[in-house]
Symmetry: C2
Subunit: 160 residues, 2 copies
DNA sequence: GGCCAGTTGTCAAAATTTGAACTAGTGCTA
DNA sequence: TAGCACTAGTTCAAATTTTGACAACTGGCC
C-alpha cells in the first residue's frame, strides 16, 4: 500500500492525519462542553468579530468556511435562533444578506475564547518548542495559501 | 482574543487549523470522486487490511477511529451493505462482533490507495522538503502518542 | 447458582447535510 | 428601457449521520 509515497512521507502523513483527527475531536469536545459551541459556531463568531462592522456577506462566510450555500444558511439559522447572530439585508445588493454579530454573540465568544485557547495550549502548543512552532507555521501557512488559490482557480477556471 | 496564546503560537494554530481543514476536505472530495469512499471508509479498510486475520472487534475499531460505538455500528453497516466488510460473531465473547474485510473490500482498497496517496502527494507532500517532513513527523507522532495516552487514562482513570 | 456492576453493540429518533428548484435582483446588450 | 443571462441566497424534501436510551452478555462476588 506504499506504491506512490516514499516511506518517510507515508509515516509523516499517517502521524499527521491520525494526531490531527484526535486533536480536532478533543478540541471540539472541550469547546462543546464548556461553551456549547461547535467548531463551526466558534469559527463563525471569530470571523464576524474580526470583520469590519462585525458583519459579513453570506457568500464571503461560505467561502471562508468552505461551506455550501445551503449548509451556511442552516448554520446561520441555528445561530440566529440562539441569538448569536442576526441577519440583515445587504444595502448595496438587494439580493444579498449579511450575518451580523450580536452583543450576545460577542459575549459568548469572549467567554468561550479563553477556554478554547487554553484547550489549544494544553492539547497542542505547550508541548511544542519554538522551532516546531515556526516549522508548523511555515508548512501550513504555505499550504493554506496554495489550497485557497487552487480552490479559487477551480471556481474561476479562466483567469490565466 | 489573544489572552492565553502568545501571538506566534496563535498564528501557528490558525495556519494549521485552516490549512488542515481545507486539506481534509480536498482529499475527501478526491477520494469520493475516484473511489466512492469516504475518509472513514478508507481508514476502516486500511485498519482491517493490516489487522491479523483482517478482522477487528468493533470496540477496537471504534477506539482507533475515535468513533462512538453507535457511530461505528452505522459506519460498518453501510460498508457491509456495499459488500466491503462482513460482520461475524466473536467466538470468545458472545456480546461482541467483529468486522472482517471481504475480498471485495480488499480489492476496493487496492484500487483506491494509489489514487488517494497520489492525492496526498500533490496536495501536501510534494511541496514539503525533507526537513519539513521530519518536523511534521516529530510533532505529530509525539502528539498522537500523547493524545492516545490521555484518552486511555480518561477511560480508565485509576491505573496510577 | 444468583446477583450486580460494567461492557458490547443496536435501534429509533433527532440533527445535519445535500441538491434541486425557486425567488429576487443585477447589469449587460441592443 | 426591455430582454436576458447570470448571481445571491433560501427553501424543501430526501439522504445521511449522530446521538442517547436500551437490551444482551460477561465476570466476579457473595
Amino acid at each position: 500500500m506504499t506504491e506512490s509515497l516514499e516511506p518517510k512521507r507515508l509515516t509523516a502523513w499517517r502521524a499527521y492525519i491520525e494526531a490531527s483527527q484526535r486533536l480536532f475531536t478533543q478540541l471540539e469536545d472541550d469547546l462543546r462542553a464548556d461553551s456549547g459551541l461547535s467548531f463551526a459556531d466558534y469559527h463563525v463568531l471569530v470571523l464576524l468579530s474580526e470583520a469590519p462592522g462585525q458583519r459579513l456577506r453570506m457568500g464571503e462566510l461560505a467561502s471562508r468556511l468552505v461551506f455550501s450555500p445551503s449548509r451556511l444558511t442552516y448554520q446561520i439559522t441555528t445561530m440566529q435562533r440562539r441569538g448569536l447572530v442576526a441577519r440583515e439585508a445587504c444595502p448595496e445588493d438587494r439580493r444579498g444578506s449579511e450575518a451580523v454579530l450580536t452583543a450576545a454573540g460577542l459575549l459568548t465568544l469572549r467567554e468561550a475564547a479563553p477556554h478554547h485557547l487554553a484547550s489549544v495550549r494544553t492539547h497542542l502548543m505547550d508541548d511544542l518548542d519554538d522551532d516546531e512552532v515556526a516549522c508548523l507555521t511555515r508548512i501550513f501557512d504555505r499550504l493554506g495559501r496554495r489550497l485557497r488559490a487552487e480552490r479559487d482557480t477551480a471556481t474561476h477556471p479562466s483567469e490565466t
